[in-house]
Symmetry: C2
Subunit: 276 residues, 2 copies
């Protein structure tokens, strides 16, 4: 299959392959312009930004990117830096690493630099990728943390505000790997006007700007669609009481499956191929 060169917003569930096939990172590289790519790496979610920045710099360098800069932002004031601003105005791809999503939002939310990245990504001028914490920040509402191994309940998930790059979704990452279904359900019960997207490790949800998403990588993407929600007691019960939730629609998507965000309908790769 020829790889698309269209720009996209790439939401990666963490732990993407960095050694062998590197499917997801190659896809990012291609969609950022391949040999013409000028890539900005934002390692600010991490407590070891220099190390993680260098790791991705090496990977994209070996792929042959024309330019790569690590924007090692450790202070909000750096987001006014003219050189960095100039770089993100002219780059073709931005990659946000893993770490702590609260740290990433704290450093970048509502800064001139992030506004430029967001606007250019939403216009389709650049490919923006985020993995793990870099994925968590994509929605307007963000899962800051939470637990697993309990009945769905309000206290199972800590919600805050994300970067709002894809406002209509709530993203959860390392999804089945860290057993996060109950916390995403608890989040969606609180914000049933959003779409829940749980992304497994080494798996990526590609938003191509045409109102659909597509899955690549080794695992699955779980869609929790509350459009037909009939009932929840979310606002009525105590923080640790078990929730009631009626009528969620659930899809499990794997490689090359798509989902229409407007119609809220999945389209499965094997089914599409059989039709063609």
């Amino acid at each position: 299959m020829p790889q698309s060169t269209k720009t996209a917003i790439m939401v990666i569930g963490g732990a993407e392959d960095k050694i062998h096939g590197k499917e997801i990172l190659h896809n990012f590289f291609g969609r950022s312009g391949a040999a013409e790519a000028r890539i900005a790496i934002i390692p600010s979610a991490s407590r070891e930004p220099a190390i993680i920045g260098e790791r991705y710099l090496t990977i994209f360098g070996e792929m042959g990117a024309k330019g790569i800069e690590v924007l090692d932002i450790r202070d909000r004031e750096q987001c006014n830096d003219a050189l960095m601003q100039s770089y993100v105005e002219n780059c073709t791809g931005v990659f946000m690493t893993g770490g702590d999503q609260l740290r990433l939002c704290g450093l970048l939310a509502d800064t001139p630099l992030m506004r430029t990245v967001q606007q250019r990504a939403q216009k389709g001028e650049i490919t923006l990728a985020g993995t793990s914490a870099g994925a968590a920040v994509m929605g307007h509402y963000m899962i800051a943390g939470g637990g697993s191994g309990e009945s769905p309940n309000r206290s199972l998930v800590d919600m805050t505000t994300g970067l709002g790059i894809i406002p209509e979704v709530i993203v959860d990452q390392h999804f089945h790997n860290r057993n996060r279904m109950a916390r995403l359900m608890s989040a969606i019960a609180a914000y049933p006007d959003r779409l829940g997207i749980g992304i497994d490790e080494d798996t990526c949800t590609l938003f191509e700007g045409d109102g659909t998403l597509q899955v690549i990588g080794k695992g699955t993407v779980t869609i929790l669609d509350p459009a037909e929600l009939s009932y929840t007691n979310q606002e009525k019960v105590g923080a640790t009481d078990p929730l009631s939730i009626g009528n969620l629609r659930l899809h499990i998507l794997s490689h090359s499956d798509r989902y229409d965000l407007r119609k809220r309908v999945p389209s499965f790769a094997a089914y599409r191929m059989a039709q063609e």
Copy 2:
């Protein structure tokens, strides 16, 4: 609320309260006839049947049951025992403990004793309860074991045949506590003519024989309804490949919520009360 004295099939997610309020065990005691109850305890799932049998014997004895027998079946031949057979023909309640569901099925499936229990439970003559392994055996298809922390895939769940007491369901227990959503989804993808029922610890699904189920206890019951399943690649992919599943309907039920098994529609306690 007055406690129902109707017989029921009680499917308990394991780890039910045995010390404090004992809500679920009290409910079983009441539905088995309270002071008139003649209870059979089947501890055969356990590798320590004497200890676990004694534990429930003490609990139901303290509640005031008229008669209690531990049917400590360790060999299929015991299931032809005339005294045991006579006891289950005249008892008012049967309680199957936790342990290993394969062991329980191996000892009891297709024996005269179990046929009597099943027929009397299905006719509403007795209350039959099973907790943990005793819950797992309720369906025609049974989850014998499996894993968690992976994308849904065929190898995540080991399926075999259960006791078929409620043939139309596939039960999973310790559900959110042991993060079993992915394995129940994998089971339902394989048997989409069944209804998936995931029961949390200290939580019970009551089947009252009127085509509805009701939830009691501390946690939630998850209903995975594949009636509108649009697609799965379950039969086409390798055992460890991630699954695609389209259009599962998902409900989370908590205390006093009900679900109509024929119409496949939930009815929430707080909503019902607001209507009344």
